[in-house]
């Protein structure tokens, strides 16, 4: 089942990347099961690649386990959820809660923090969104002009 999920994800990725033929290949392999030798006739290079990847799986598992264990160990130091003594609630939060209405003059302290106390941070967020939009436009095109249809791709097998 895990391989099925993987091949579905891989197929969706390839469809997004405009490689529908590869996607069909992926999903066909996924249906038959990647392990089945009949299903792996798509090309010698591809086959060798998967074989090589298979040997590294154990090492990858160990690395993932160690990394995950370290991350979970790191969460041990974090304060409990909604702990009023947590450092995050000791530093500037009391001032926001008590003084923001007097200092900023608007009743919504979330907006005060977002737009005024942390205005530069919000500016960064806006620029991130803007540059993400520019990046998508560069990659996908603006969708306003029609290119001539591409010649059909050569199938892999």
């Amino acid at each position: 089942m895990l391989m099925g999920i993987f091949s579905l994800l891989a197929a969706s990725l390839y469809v997004l990347l405009d490689a529908v033929d590869v996607a069909a290949d992926r999903s066909r392999r996924g249906r038959r099961g990647v392990d089945h030798p009949d299903a792996r006739g798509a090309g010698a290079d591809d086959q060798r690649g998967e074989g090589a990847r298979r040997q590294h799986n154990l090492l990858a598992l160990v690395v993932v386990l160690i990394t995950g264990g370290a991350l979970i160990y790191g969460t041990m130091d974090m304060p409990n959820f909604a702990d009023p003594e947590a450092p995050a609630h000791q530093h500037v939060a009391p001032r926001y809660v008590q003084d923001s209405v007097d200092e900023i003059g608007i009743p919504n302290m979330v907006t005060s923090v977002l737009a005024s106390y942390r205005g530069l941070d919000t500016l960064g967020e806006v620029l991130v969104i803007f540059s993400a939009g520019v990046a998508v436009l560069l990659l996908l095109g603006a969708g306003t002009y029609r290119r001539r249809p591409r010649p059909p791709r050569k199938r892999l097998q």
Binding site: I106, P107, T111, I129, P149
Partner: protein, 142 residues
């Protein structure tokens, strides 16, 4: 009689309400939950609904892609411009209280304006992303 009469009539009733709600979220953000990010998304959602019902050509006649691209930059520029204006008024970058004689008025004004910039940028970016993806589907159909 075109098909999908119920959808068309329902969308025509809904879309102005959605746009108005986006403006409410935008400009009522000082008093209630809301702000530029949410308002921009809701505004874009109205245009997405319009596209789903009436087609990409109709929505691009109403809101041309070039205008969307310009607006997405203008929102960010408005935000930065408010910050620079505060510097010229004698404060630090994005220090709104120097924008007007009354510090509270200056803060409120600055917050409303930068939230407007946020809303313009977020809405325009989401619309232009939607245009990009929707335009590609049309390319593949051709």
């Amino acid at each position: 009689m075109s098909p999908h009469v119920v959808l068309r009539v329902g969308a025509k009733v809904l879309i102005p309400v959605i746009l108005l709600f986006a403006l409410y979220i935008q400009f009522h953000g000082e008093y209630s939950p809301g702000g530029g990010f949410q308002a921009g998304i809701i505004f874009a959602a109205a245009l997405v609904l319009y596209t789903l019902i009436f087609g990409l050509d109709a929505v691009q006649r109403a809101v041309p892609p070039v205008a969307v691209h310009l607006l997405s930059a203008c929102g960010a520029l408005l935000y930065i411009g408010i910050g620079v204006w505060a510097m010229f008024a004698g404060g630090n970058f994005l220090e709104y209280k120097v924008l007007a004689s009354d510090p509270h008025l200056g803060e409120t004004m600055g917050i409303i304006l930068i939230e407007l910039g946020v809303g313009i940028t977020v809405g325009a970016v989401v619309i232009s992303l939607f245009y990009s993806f929707a335009g590609r589907t049309r390319e593949q159909e051709n």
